[in-house]
């Protein structure tokens, strides 16, 4: 279970998250949606502590960490929480100097000190899962965006994180390529992978999210089961946002 309680994040004078509380149950997929600048990425990055919350509490499984303004968490505490997470980035961020399989092995070998052979075995199994085993020895630069993102998903899963965080995993991809990534994420969701993802992709959100959190201006405006929230949003702000998403989806080839 992941529980974010009263997360506040300030960048200097700017308050980007204003006391956000979200709970994600084990094995569930939560989509963060909302207008640009609403704080989705920041909230995700507060879960794996790429951003340190100004105040609030982050709990992932058995590990919990509280933050106070001016306090600085120790490296050990950060690692303790971060170790429970894996992250998929909008721009993939594969290591360009390592082949696909080396990218997936990197965390196991460098951080967890696995022997290379064992790490390679696990990495190959994960590449199989995302349909990239045939490109195991390819350099990232020679892969399509969709292929890179699938390798990145395998890399994030390698250390067996409790939760997979995805920041707009499909938005750098055209509809066809994003289809293959949605496919992979859908399979993971069906297998019970806990996920939190920020997305503008209605297809992605409606297809695999169980819960949806609508974030606007650094606040949770509405949250609920995805079908309900997409079809019968309660708040007017949510209604308006979903209407624009659907429109965009129809105009583009997205949905």
């Amino acid at each position: 279970m992941i529980r974010l309680s009263n997360i506040e994040k300030r960048f200097g004078e700017l308050t980007v998250l204003k006391g956000v509380s979200v709970t994600v149950a084990e094995g569930r997929v939560t989509a963060l949606i909302g207008p640009s600048g609403g704080g989705k990425s920041t909230l995700l990055r507060c879960i794996n502590l790429l951003e340190i919350p100004t105040s609030g509490t982050v709990r992932i499984g058995e590990e919990e960490l509280s933050f106070q303004p001016g306090g600085k968490p120790t490296w050990k505490d950060i690692q303790r929480l971060r170790g429970q997470t894996g992250m998929v980035f909008q721009n993939f961020q594969l290591f360009p100097h390592r082949t696909a399989v080396e990218n997936v092995m990197e965390g196991l070998v460098t951080v967890q000190k696995w022997p290379a052979e064992k790490a390679r075995e696990r990495a190959m199994a994960l590449l199989h899962k995302v349909g990239m085993a045939h490109k195991a020895d390819a350099w990232p630069a020679t892969l399509s965006g969709g292929q890179q993102q699938r390798v990145a998903i395998a890399r994030a899963l390698a250390p067996s994180p409790r939760v997979l965080l995805c920041d707009e995993p499909t938005s750098a991809l055209d509809p066809e390529l994003s289809g293959e990534v949605v496919e992979v994420l859908g399979t993971l969701a069906a297998e019970g992978t806990t996920m939190v993802m920020a997305t503008h992709d209605l297809r992605l959100a409606s297809r695999i999210a169980h819960e949806v959190v609508f974030l606007d201006g650094g606040e949770v405006v509405e949250t609920g089961p995805s079908r309900e929230l997409f079809t019968h949003p309660k708040r007017e702000r949510t209604q308006r946002f979903i209407a624009t998403l659907t429109q965009q989806g129809q105009q583009g080839e997205g949905v």
């Binding site: 980035f89 100097h97 460098t110 020679t142």
Partner: protein, 226 residues
């Protein structure tokens, strides 16, 4: 004409010997040491505490802003006045190391900064510490971009070691000067010395090509912006 050829043949062994025993070791040692100094200085400037970073900035300012020849004279002829007496070779080694350190620190600082921030985040996201991220993710990518400018520094250094002649190091150029003093054939001997420098720097250029090829195998940089 024949006289020139004989002179060349006669002097070649002693010039090559001077290159082998002084020029080449001086170049290799001061480049290796200077690169280490440069790496430390760059990391301090990028990530270190402000006062230390200021010290590094001061060091780079002094070294880049004053002539290398003056620096060598200060170390070899100047320092004895405050009780620090150095042999010619160590004095030259220190001078060139400090010089290479200052120039390469600027190069290394720039190439480390050129690796996209997302690469740090990707490294952190799979659990790496700062030093693991630096070693495994950032430096290898920075090294690739650094090969051409560092090769420039290296090649300049080979030629700059001729300045050590002025502080009595019997390296290649000084060996040539000494033979000129007895043979009165400056043209032929200085051409000969120049050709040896040219050969040395050509070897380094070839090395650069090979390094670039090796680092280049993984293809273009990903469009990893933002």
């Amino acid at each position: 004409m024949l006289h020139w050829l004989t002179l060349m043949a006669d002097s070649l062994p002693s010039l090559l010997w001077a290159a082998l025993v002084f020029t080449v070791p001086l170049t290799l040692a001061s480049f290796a040491l200077g690169l280490t100094v440069g790496l430390v200085a760059a990391v301090v400037r990028l990530f270190g505490p402000a006062p230390l970073a200021a010290v590094v900035r001061f060091y780079v300012w002094i070294i880049r802003g004053t002539p290398l020849l003056v620096q060598l004279f200060l170390i070899f002829y100047g320092l004895p006045s405050v009780g620090i007496v150095l042999d010619a070779f160590p004095a030259a080694l220190i001078g060139f190391t400090l010089n290479v350190g200052a120039y390469t620190s600027e190069i290394i600082r720039a190439v480390i900064g050129s690796v996209p921030k997302g690469q740090w985040e990707a490294a952190y996201s799979i659990g790496m510490s700062w030093s693991q991220a630096m070693r495994r993710t950032i430096l290898p990518q920075a090294a690739r971009v650094a090969v051409p400018p560092l090769s420039n520094t290296f090649i300049s250094l080979v030629k700059d070691t001729s300045l050590a002649a002025a502080i009595t190091v019997p390296e290649l150029f000084q060996a040539a000067q000494r033979i000129v003093a007895t043979s009165y054939e400056p043209l032929i001997l200085y051409v000969e010395a120049a050709l040896i420098y040219l050969a040395l720097s050509s070897i380094l250029s070839a090395l650069q090509v090979r390094l670039e090829r090796r680092f280049g195998q993984y293809g273009g940089f990903l469009e990893a912006k933002s």
